[in-house]
């Protein structure tokens, strides 16, 4: 009688992916005995390190999946993305950090221990805009008595398309 290997109840793996606004992420995945896969990862977006938690849902088999992920990137200097070093854009990009939540859908294919996946969707991102005061009053006026203050840091809310490509390696 032919015997198949018993299916493991839970499965650990390693995930590497590239996406927007995730940057390059590497972490671990955990697949409990239900059609979901959890992941936790650390990454880098060319400006600063970040971290992310996520869940993928595959209720109709292995191929199609829905994904929800939330992450945070720590403050970093992105002024090199600005058109000119000391421009207004550059000043705003000197201290960039953000939180984000992504909702994506896509497909995956397994080849041996490696699962390849591609996801598209939407990201909602919130980023504090630091240093607005420097834009408003960067030069002394000479009349001395003028004070410009921005007591509450503005927060930029962005809704944008997102994509993610990656692999999961399951031993």
């Amino acid at each position: 009688m032919l015997q198949t290997a018993p299916r493991r109840a839970v499965q650990w793996g390693m995930q590497i992916d590239l996406g927007v606004p995730d940057g390059l992420m590497a972490g671990v995945t955990f697949k409990p005995p239900m059609p979901v896969r959890l992941n936790a990862a650390l990454g880098y977006n060319t400006v600063s390190p970040g971290l992310r938690l996520g869940i993928e849902w595959m209720p109709l088999g292995h191929t199609w999946l829905l994904s929800a992920q939330g992450g945070h990137f720590f403050q970093g200097d992105a002024s090199h993305w600005a058109s000119k070093p000391n421009s207004a854009d550059g000043i705003l990009l000197e201290r960039v950090s953000y939180n984000y939540f992504s909702w994506r859908a896509g497909a995956q294919w397994q080849s041996g221990p490696i699962t390849y996946f591609g996801l598209l969707g939407l990201t909602y991102l919130r980023a504090p805009i630091e240093q607005v005061e420097r834009l408003l009053a960067p030069i002394e006026t000479g009349n001395g008595g003028t004070l410009i203050q921005v007591p509450d840091t503005p927060t930029l809310s962005v809704l944008m398309p997102t994509l993610q490509l990656g692999i999961v390696i399951s031993p």
């Binding site: 994506r104 859908a105 969707g121 009349n143 003028t146 004070l147 410009i148 927060t155 809704l159």
Partner: protein, 177 residues
């Protein structure tokens, strides 16, 4: 979840990728404080109503981020007597105007206007006046011009010797893509 419902959800999520990008930031409060504005005294032996004007410059160098569209509107304003030096009960009307020194295409605009509607009480000192603001115009085009200034126009039975005021104006708005 049924198979059709799941694929409907999947398709909608994939289609959301085609949506455009939107970005907006609320700027809750920008506070501009100008201290020690000197208003020239006006000889007034008969104690009649007179009008005085004083100017101060907006700080130069304001730069708008190219990637964002900036809109800022007056939110509130008040004038105060520095260190409680004077009693502002003599002010009947006060107007704060934003203007440019050079650009004639942008006319002077009233930011805030105060008009006393009741005579001041005999025993109550007034060290601070709340000045209602006009909220319908974007000040950014004035600030960005580089030569904006504020003019304070005060009407009342004004002091005969020079006196000083502090002005605080608050603005709010949005940065959007």
């Amino acid at each position: 979840m049924s198979k059709p419902r799941f694929f409907q959800c999947l398709a909608m999520t994939l289609a959301s990728f085609l949506c455009g990008c939107s970005a907006e930031a609320n700027v809750p409060r920008i506070v501009i404080t100008q201290s020690g504005i000197v208003v020239d005294g006006i000889p007034n032996p008969n104690g009649v109503t007179t009008v005085a004007r004083a100017r101060f410059d907006h700080p130069v160098g304001f730069e708008i981020p190219k990637v964002l569209e900036t809109s800022l509107y007056p939110r509130s304003a008040f004038v105060a007597a520095p260190d409680g030096e004077i009693d502002l009960r003599f002010v009947d009307e006060l107007t704060l105007i934003l203007a440019l020194r050079s650009d004639e295409q942008l006319p002077p605009r009233e930011i805030a206007h105060y008009l006393r509607d009741e005579p001041p009480g005999p025993d109550t000192e007034e060290r601070l006046l709340n000045v209602p603001t006009s909220t319908d115009f974007n000040v950014v085009q004035y600030w960005a011009a580089g030569d904006a200034y504020y003019e304070l126009v005060v009407r009342g039975v004004l002091p005969e010797s020079d006196w000083t005021l502090n002005v605080v104006a608050q603005f709010r708005g949005t940065l959007s893509l």
